[in-house]
């Protein structure tokens, strides 16, 4: 872009990004450092100016640092948070120009070509950046030059674009061993390097050195890659007159849903959790949350699911702002059109079931709608799992080597003795007599799981058919004699 014009690049270096981030949230007087565990020792990851003045430096062991500076306040570093903070700063820097890219883990690069006059010239723009960053509590060093490499050099090593040739060779973004080797050869400054013949340098250090040099001097191109904005799945609407009727809110919601769903469709995403914020004229706001049983993006399906949540909204003197956000999204591929399947009679389409689960979920909670999943265990009560239907897929694969009861309950003791099922017994206030007993089926506890209920050890299960009709599942514990009823067939 801007072929034939001079490009102007600003490089911003945040020398204390990590500690500035922490100190912004919680200011500390005096020396402060962030520690990072490398191998078995804690070392300094980032530190503030006060700590640097006491003689501490990066990479120092925390134990040494504490002995140098007993009043050092420290805290573990969070590199992920730091990366997030840098992305925030990148977004902020878009106020100056649209071409903002990341420079390593602690810098930004801005292509301000043609944008500086909007801020009253380059000097005024840099002063504005410096002032705003200082007010935000972020230490920054700025470099302005005609190429990205030169801007980086100026930001890190000071000086200006005119004095570039007098900067040390380390300002070329070279690996440390190359820098050391160049210094041994007496090539200490960029100017020395630029003046020396290129062919021997390339033979000795490889093409990379010359590429870096050309990039710095502006002979080789190095574009700034702006980062794509992550998609925002939210829409909002401000109303000229406050509304209060449920039908009006529904109509407004429909107009919010349509663009949101279009946005989801272009990104091939489906909403899993939606949050509708309604702001009233008296500045109070209410939220309606909708959790969906399956990712979806059809406005016509989502709208009726909101109905129950909207019933509870207190409109007060009226609602004048609405914001709809898809808080949680999931990948959802475009559906394959299958005319044959949808035409099959007798089966409700699976979306209808998902909608029903969502509606039931809004009343009793989505985690209370469950389905059975098979589990690998011969312990009867652990042979299956109950998982929320909205967050699991159906699985078959249940196996029953022998008949199992339809209902299981906590073992209920019986007054009986001996290893054979009792001829008559009393259970739940009923006197029952034995008709036929099938068994025993021995089930041993799983020794690798500590289970309170299996403290009595082995169980010999019997299928007991009583003359009264009830079919019970009873067990006898030979290691600690006792009889229990655990389930009922039929």
């Amino acid at each position: 872009m801007f072929a034939g014009t001079h490009r102007r690049i600003v490089s911003i270096w945040f020398p204390r990004l990590a500690s500035d981030r922490v100190l912004r949230a919680r200011p500390v007087e005096g020396p402060f450092a962030l520690s990072q565990r490398i191998g078995s020792s804690e070392t300094i990851y980032c530190l503030n100016g006060a700590a640097e003045r006491t003689g501490l430096h990066r990479g120092m062991r925390m134990a040494d640092a504490r002995s140098f500076c007993p009043n050092l306040i420290s805290q573990p570093a969070r590199p992920d948070q730091e990366a997030r903070f840098l992305r925030l700063l990148r977004r902020w820097a878009e106020r100056y120009c649209p071409w903002v890219g990341l420079e390593g883990a602690d810098g930004l690069v801005l292509d301000i070509t043609g944008a500086a006059h909007l801020f009253g010239g380059e000097a005024a723009m840099l002063a504005d950046m410096q002032a705003r960053l200082a007010r935000a509590g972020v230490t920054a060093q700025l470099g302005l030059a005609a190429s990205r490499g030169a801007a980086w050099a100026v930001a890190h090593f000071g000086g200006s674009a005119e004095t570039l040739l007098s900067l040390p060779v380390a300002a070329l973004r070279l690996p440390t061993d190359t820098v050391v080797a160049l210094q041994r050869l007496g090539l200490r400054k960029i100017g020395d390097l630029a003046a020396s013949p290129r062919a021997p340098l390339a033979r000795r250090f490889g093409q990379d050195l010359l590429t870096r040099l050309d990039q710095c001097l502006g002979h080789a191109p190095e574009p700034v890659t702006p980062e794509a904005e992550p998609p925002q799945f939210a829409t909002r609407m401000t109303l000229p007159e406050p509304i209060g009727l449920q039908a009006d809110v529904q109509a407004a919601l429909e107009r919010l849903l349509t663009p949101l769903c279009q946005k989801l469709a272009t990104q091939e995403m489906g909403a899993r959790r939606l949050c509708l914020t309604l702001r009233r004229v008296d500045q109070a706001s209410q939220q309606v949350e909708l959790r969906l049983a399956a990712p979806m993006r059809e406005p016509a399906r989502i709208l009726p699911l909101f109905a129950r949540g909207l019933e509870d909204v207190d409109a007060g003197f009226g609602i004048d702002q609405m914001r709809l956000e898809a808080v949680q999204v999931e990948r959802l591929a475009p559906p394959q059109s299958n005319a044959l399947q949808s035409a099959a009679p007798g089966h409700a389409p699976p979306e209808q079931l998902a909608d029903l689960i969502t509606r039931i979920g809004t009343r009793i909670g989505l985690e209370n709608v469950l389905r059975f999943l098979p589990a690998e265990s011969h312990i009867p009560e652990r042979a299956f799992l109950l998982a929320p239907a909205a967050f699991s897929t159906p699985q078959s694969g249940f196996t029953a080597p022998r008949p199992r009861p339809l209902r299981l309950f906590a073992p209920e003791p019986l007054a009986a003795q001996g290893a054979e099922p009792p001829q008559s017994f009393r259970w739940r206030g009923m006197r029952l007599t034995l008709g036929r007993a099938t068994g025993p089926e021995r089930i041993a506890p799983e020794w690798w799981i500590e289970d309170e209920n299996w403290r009595r050890g082995l169980r010999d299960y019997w299928r007991v058919e009583t003359r009264e009709g009830r079919r019970l599942w009873m067990f006898y514990t030979p290691q600690d004699p006792g009889w229990f009823v655990q389930g009922e067939f039929a």
């Binding site: 909608d355 009793i364 009867p380 042979a383 249940f398 199992r404 209902r407 299981l408 039929a490």
Partner: protein
């Protein structure tokens, strides 16, 4: 008892089954026990906190028609209005609703009421012999049958005419 009646009915319909029971109840349904009768994959379980929620969910599911059968285990009798609402919802959605009731808690709105009791079968081992009596019927007459689930053929066998 009644759970096997519900399971046999679920096997006879096509599509998913919603089984509603309040969350405080101590015993659990065992999907492995369902295996000879129906595939537990078809069963969706909902655990409402109280019977009011259970009735509301049942009405919603009956009206919607996405599930083929709604089984509702109740712990207190339905009043006239609740029973009628469920019956209207079932009519709208074309869904079968089955209420598993303790003895004597039937609703006036029900189309039919059945009593299902297991019966001891002296002849066959591993028998699933049951006696099904229809004790209320708005559209027809009463009757009683002795039935037995045939796991191989996957259907109900009528064992012998009830001796009455």
């Amino acid at each position: 008892m009644a759970s096997s009646f519900a399971a046999c009915l679920a096997a006879a319909v096509q599509g998913p089954v919603l089984w509603l029971r309040e969350s405080w109840q101590g015993d659990t349904l065992n999907p492995v026990g369902f295996l000879p009768v129906l595939d537990p994959v078809r069963v969706l379980l909902a655990h409402p906190a109280n019977q009011t929620d259970a009735l509301a969910v049942a009405e919603e599911a009956l009206k919607d028609g996405a599930v083929a059968l709604v089984v509702l285990e109740i712990t207190r009798p339905l009043d006239l209005r609740e029973g009628r609402r469920l019956q209207l919802a079932a009519g709208t959605g074309g869904t079968i609703g089955l209420c598993l009731i303790p003895e004597g808690m039937g609703s006036n709105a029900a189309e039919t009421r059945w009593r299902a009791t297991p019966v001891f079968d002296p002849k066959h081992e591993d028998s699933t012999l049951m006696r099904w009596e229809i004790i209320k019927n708005k559209m027809g007459t009463f009757g009683a049958w002795n039935v037995c689930w045939n796991a191989q053929a996957h259907r109900l066998d009528l064992v012998s005419p009830a001796g009455e």
